[in-house]
């Protein structure tokens, strides 16, 4: 299939990109790595009149240490994130989730910011961004603003990004000394999560001192499993604690029903995968 015709703009600075977006009107689409958008264009599920490519703006790429946080440029590829020691050291959960995305070719092109802005409920990075309390920096015609991950994801494929705004970078508070695991259930031929669980814990003296757990594809947006977190914190890092905590994984979720799973099965998966994810994260 061949996409519908569109005009193409490849600005070289963020300011130019914001201007190009404003000039293009409501019918423009931003292309980051293009690993979701290009298939969508080919299937003609979307036919923008203008495509604005962020691929020629070097300032949007890379990971930098900003004291108590890492700042990840929105156009940093999954591959670059996997090869960035800073991410492994201070935001291990993101590295673990990134490693499960699609395949090497797609990880070479796909970007951290593109995945978050696309907001596919089966996307693997959303839950990790939420669990670690990431904050999005967004640029628009009126300057910049910050939005917490908890407010950023609004609905299926919908974020708080306005049509004239661009995701610039993602500020991830450092979770140094935390251990993490991303446990995913998917069809082998399709790496999209049917359900997945992002878990990060800080174990201190055999007990779970802090825990962050978030779920992929258990609602139209990623959700924190707060019941699980409550049931973990302050207790011994052992199998009994994790088993009991994981029972609460589906609390407050609203899983979709589709060809892959019904709601009951998704809830079951959430409990089982939470148990596995926390077990692996805590090294039990």
């Amino acid at each position: 299939m061949i996409p519908s015709a569109f005009d193409y703009v490849a600005p070289e600075t963020l300011d130019d990109a914001v201007r190009a977006l404003a000039d293009a009107g409501d019918d423009a689409k931003i292309i980051a790595g293009g690993q979701s958008l290009t298939p969508v264009l080919r299937l003609r599920m979307n036919d923008p009149s203008v495509v604005i490519d962020l691929g020629r703006i070097p300032a949007l790429r890379g990971v930098r240490d900003d004291g108590d946080a890492l700042v990840i440029g929105a156009m940093t590829t999954h591959h670059d994130i996997l090869h960035e020691p800073l991410v492994r050291e201070h935001a291990l959960l993101i590295a673990e989730a990134t490693a499960t995305i699609a395949d090497p070719q797609i990880r070479h092109r796909g970007t951290f910011g593109g995945s978050l802005a696309h907001a596919d409920p089966a996307g693997d990075l959303l839950a990790s961004a939420l669990a670690l309390g990431a904050e999005m920096t967004i640029a628009g015609p009126n300057g910049r603003r910050q939005v917490a991950a908890a407010e950023f994801f609004e609905d299926l494929f919908t974020t708080s990004l306005q049509p004239d705004e661009i995701l610039v970078d993602i500020r991830v508070p450092k979770h140094s000394g935390w251990t993490a695991h991303y446990e995913k259930f998917n069809r082998t031929a399709q790496a999209w999560s049917i359900v997945a669980v992002a878990a990060a814990v800080r174990v201190d003296g055999g007990a779970i001192a802090e825990a962050r757990v978030a779920l992929t594809n258990m609602a139209s947006v990623p959700v924190r499993a707060r019941g699980v977190e409550e049931a973990l914190v302050g207790r011994a890092a052992d199998a009994a604690t994790i088993r009991d905590a994981a029972e609460r994984a589906a609390e407050g979720t609203s899983p979709a029903v589709d060809g892959n799973a019904d709601a009951d099965f998704r809830s079951h998966l959430a409990r089982v995968l939470t148990s596995r994810a926390v077990t692996a994260a805590a090294g039990v």
Binding site: P3, F6, T38, P104
Partner: protein, 164 residues
């Protein structure tokens, strides 16, 4: 829109529509039909080429995104009539049945071996997870990649650092 792309060591400059996919540019405009289009949905990896030395699925890249960059296809691997060690290994191990996935498998295998010159079987399978062989002929493909890895390690052993 005019683009300039280095493909297999030759510089091309062409007028293309922004919606043209890289795979169609390679095949229809440049006649590089060694790169095939398989699934149309970025699943199968048959269209894998290297863009600035990294494997990508050319059905999921616009030709205009390759402007100013370097593309290597399966047709650019052989040097002076000598097959690339991975091509040679696919031949020796009979790592194909119908052959449709082969160009993509070879391109991804080369990328994999650049990241990991000595992969075990599991690592080969994971490295090729974005490439589907609908004949299910994976066994010999894995063998070929490991055989090529051995050849390439031997070839690079005398050089410090093992750069290829």
């Amino acid at each position: 829109m005019r683009i300039t792309v280095d493909v297999d060591g030759t510089r091309y400059s062409d007028e293309v529509e922004p919606r043209m996919l890289l795979v169609h540019y390679l095949r229809d405009q440049l006649g590089k039909v060694g790169t095939v289009s398989g699934c149309d949905t970025s699943n199968c990896g048959a269209c894998t080429v290297h863009l600035d030395g990294r494997s990508v699925k050319s059905c999921s890249v616009l030709a205009v995104q390759a402007d100013g960059h370097e593309v290597t296809t399966v047709e650019g691997l052989a040097q002076d009539g000598t097959l690339h060690p991975v091509q040679e290994a696919f031949h020796e191990c009979h790592a194909l049945q119908c052959g449709y996935c082969t160009p993509g498998m070879i391109m991804q295998s080369i990328d994999l071996l650049e990241e990991n010159p000595d992969p075990d079987e599991q690592q080969v399978r994971e490295g090729l997870e974005g490439n589907l062989c609908r004949c299910t002929g994976y066994q010999n493909i894995v063998k070929a990649v490991q055989s090529a890895a051995g050849t390439m390690r031997e070839g690079s052993a005398p050089q410090a650092g093992g750069a290829r």
